[in-house]
């Protein structure tokens, strides 16, 4: 799936010559059907790594291969296509479109794939039913609880049948009970659908439940716990 070596990301700081080294040579292999949690202090590069894995940004140096393709060298259109087809993104703040219903929000993930309107509606309804929101298709964001909104976001990430789910603090805005529900859902989907799930989390309770755990500190990644039979760094 992912083969990463010497990955760096440097941001321009506020000062003219100030550079922020967010990632300083990350080496890791993430195989198919892996479930990896990345932990680390705030500002040490967790979200940056997740964004690079999702093709939302470009690395400054190193190699980032997805299914053998070097993402760093891809054109903008190819990268957009890769995102549309392969990556499902779940955000901490849910990031739903406020004017669209739950069903329409899920449909937005199918728009770039050129799926017909009828099929879009069917698939979105099914995805929402799969996450337990079959009765809430026509509800707007404001009419849903935090947990329900995150379920809509999960449905949106899943509806395109991606290879990878990238989740940035997916339970960060939820209470404990809802957190457990959402994580349980992710675990179920991972197990049932054979997805690769990579998540960034501060939550140590979640960290304990994932098969593989990595930590980022000062832009460097180390594997803290290996999944049985997995290939580490």
């Amino acid at each position: 799936m992912y083969e990463i070596s010497g990955l760096t990301k440097i941001y321009q700081g506020k000062g003219k010559n100030e550079k922020v080294h967010a990632l300083q040579g990350v080496d890791v292999v993430i195989p198919d059907n892996d479930m990896l949690a990345i932990q680390g202090p705030t500002g040490h590069g967790k979200s940056t790594l997740l964004q690079l894995l999702g093709g939302l940004d470009r690395p400054t140096g190193g190699s980032l291969k997805f299914d053998g393709q070097e993402m760093a060298k891809m054109g903008e259109m190819s990268l957009t296509k890769l995102r549309a087809q392969n990556f499902g993104y779940i955000f901490q703040g849910f990031n739903l479109i406020p004017t669209l219903t739950a069903q329409e929000n899920v449909e937005t993930a199918l728009v770039p794939l050129g799926v017909s309107k009828v099929e879009r509606r069917e698939r979105a309804a099914k995805a929402l039913t799969d996450v337990g929101l079959g009765e809430r298709l026509g509800h707007l964001q404001t009419e849903l609880s935090g947990g329900q909104q995150q379920r809509v976001a999960i449905a949106r990430a899943l509806v395109k049948e991606p290879k990878v789910i990238l989740a940035d603090e997916p339970t960060g805005n939820l209470d404990e009970e809802t957190r457990d529900d959402i994580f349980g859902l992710l675990e179920k989907l991972w197990a049932d659908l054979g997805l690769t799930v990579i998540m960034v989390t501060h939550d140590s309770a979640l960290s304990k439940r994932v098969p593989r755990l990595a930590q980022i500190k000062n832009g460097k990644l180390t594997i803290k716990r290996e999944r049985a039979g997995a290939t580490g760094v």
């Binding site: 964004q51 999702g54 939302l56 940004d57 470009r58 903008e76 259109m77 957009t80 296509k81 995102r83 549309a84 087809q85 499902g88 993104y89 955000f91 990031n95 479109i97 406020p98 004017t99 669209l100 329409e104 449909e107 937005t108 993930a109 728009v111 770039p112 794939l113 309107k117 879009r120 949106r156 990430a157 395109k160």
Partner: protein
């Protein structure tokens, strides 16, 4: 998805969208009003030109009068008496038609030569005459034995437009007590009603002059003059000493009082085979200047004026209104439109900035930048079209207001550049008539502001342009960020 998303966003931001639409509406409405006003002024100018020079005339040819060549006048005296105080009284009654003073004549040979020029589609001549009617008594102190012969004199006169007046005329020792009146006559080619002064006549009662009237003593009277003088169809009017039957009353803004067949005009003025103006229609509008040059060569000494030159000779409040539109209206509408576009663009950019995370999310799930831009532009164009629709309403209201409140405009045009005052006087010397040499026509027109399909098309185009501009800038801003950067923005 495109229209669903678009509709929901516009509903969510309805207040802001309305502000943008109203801004565009103001700019578009003003542009429509100014354009309509401009069209109205143009139509008024065309109306004036049509009145002065006839429909479809591209070029007019006139001849500058040579000094002292004014039409000759002879006044016959009929009857005489002598008072006991030694004063001789001579009765004077004369009706004479002559070429309008200050105007030269063009021969039929020159007219034929112009008609045969390549590039000339049609050429028609007309003869402008002044009819002068004087009646009264000429008193003269008798210092010699009274003579029974008539008193006569020759001389030119020149005068302005029609009118009449009474009073005494003093010519030194002789004095004149009586009245005089003058009218203007246009001898028109009745075989050609498509070009020239005949084309500007609109018959209000009776009938128009036709080719069968070529050698008939018939006349069509200007309706304003007919009203003033209470002339009806069927009346008999004496022009140049000849009795003419009025066959029609016509509305025209031309200043001529009577329109009679050209042959008759030539006969009463003794200007056989001559005209004062040749109206030329070019075969195509692109040939006007070259045809004008050819005419200048063919008719040496003639004044050749193109329609463009004629238009520029139209002055007065109409011209002022035209200048106002060009100078003030145009820049005002451009300024308002530019401001409206700028405000629309700024508000759209502001709205898009608040949705940066939203667009970042869409890009993260695979929407292309082009799709995001298209969405923003779509919203802006709909806003622009709403603004355009309101703007059309504002424009119609503005045009209606102009129609209702615009003052009546006047224009004056001069059909001759010649200026000549012919000297002369009555026998006995001492007296003379002189007035404006050139034929100055004051035309009154009511300004309209027609809103045509072209203007409405312009409004729609401006609305779409405004939407494209605002949406393009906003969309570009939204899509220029990488998804990661867009998602990092605090909304």
């Amino acid at each position: 998805m495109f229209f669903t998303y678009l509709g929901r966003e516009l509903r969510r931001r309805s207040r802001q969208a309305l502000v943008i639409a109203l801004g565009l509406a103001l700019g578009i409405g003003l542009t429509i009003t100014v354009s309509a006003y401009s069209s109205g002024v143009k139509a008024a100018q065309e109306q004036v030109l049509k009145s002065l020079y006839g429909v479809g005339t591209d070029i007019t040819v006139t001849q500058t009068a040579t000094r002292g060549s004014g039409g000759s006048q002879s006044f016959g005296a009929t009857g005489q008496s002598q008072t006991g105080t030694g004063t001789k009284t001579t009765s004077v009654a004369q009706d004479t038609a002559s070429v309008t003073p200050g105007t030269g004549t063009i021969t039929s040979a020159t007219l034929a030569k112009i008609d045969k020029l390549s590039g000339v589609s049609d050429a028609v001549g007309s003869l402008s005459l002044s009819d002068f009617n004087v009646s009264g008594a000429l008193k003269q102190s008798v210092t010699q034995t009274p003579s029974t012969s008539s008193t006569s004199g020759t001389g030119g006169n020149s005068r302005g437009s029609g009118g009449s007046g009474g009073g005494s005329f003093s010519a030194g020792p002789p004095s004149f007590n009586g009245s005089f009146s003058s009218t203007t006559i246009e001898g028109v080619d009745v075989t050609n009603s498509a070009t020239g002064p005949l084309s500007s006549l609109s018959v209000a009662s009776g009938r128009a002059l036709t080719s069968s009237d070529a050698k008939s003593a018939v006349a069509v009277v200007n309706s304003s003059y007919a009203t003033q003088k209470s002339i009806k169809v069927g009346a008999t009017e004496t022009l140049g000493g000849t009795k003419f039957t009025v066959v029609g009353i016509a509305t025209t803004t031309s200043s001529e009082d009577y329109f009679i067949p050209l042959y008759e005009a030539q006969t009463i003025s003794k200007e056989t085979g001559k005209v004062t103006t040749v109206y030329v229609k070019a075969a195509s509008s692109t040939q006007i200047n070259s045809v004008a040059s050819e005419i200048k060569s063919a008719a040496s000494g003639a004044t050749v004026s193109t329609s463009a030159e004629l238009a520029s000779s139209v002055s007065g409040s109409l011209s002022s209104a035209g200048s106002l539109i060009v100078n003030l209206g145009k820049w005002l509408s451009i300024a308002v439109l530019a401001a409206a576009f700028l405000i629309a663009a700024l508000l759209t950019v502001s709205a898009v900035s608040r949705r940066t995370r939203e667009f970042g999310t869409l890009k993260a799930i695979g929407w292309t930048s082009r799709r995001v831009v298209r969405q923003v532009i779509g919203e802006s164009i709909i806003t622009g079209l709403v603004g355009g629709a309101i703007g059309i309403g504002v424009g119609f209201a503005g045009a209606a207001a102009i129609k209702k409140f615009a003052p009546t405009l006047t224009a004056s045009g001069s059909t001759s550049s010649a200026s000549n005052t012919s000297g002369g006087g009555f026998a006995g010397g001492g007296g003379g008539f002189a007035s404006a040499a050139s034929k100055a026509n004051d035309i009154t027109v009511h300004l309209t502001a027609p809103v045509g399909m072209g203007i409405l098309g312009l409004a729609v185009a401006l609305a779409v342009l405004g939407g494209l501009l605002a949406g393009g800038i906003g969309g570009w801003r939204a899509s220029s960020l990488r998804p990661a950067a867009a998602l990092a923005k605090v909304s």
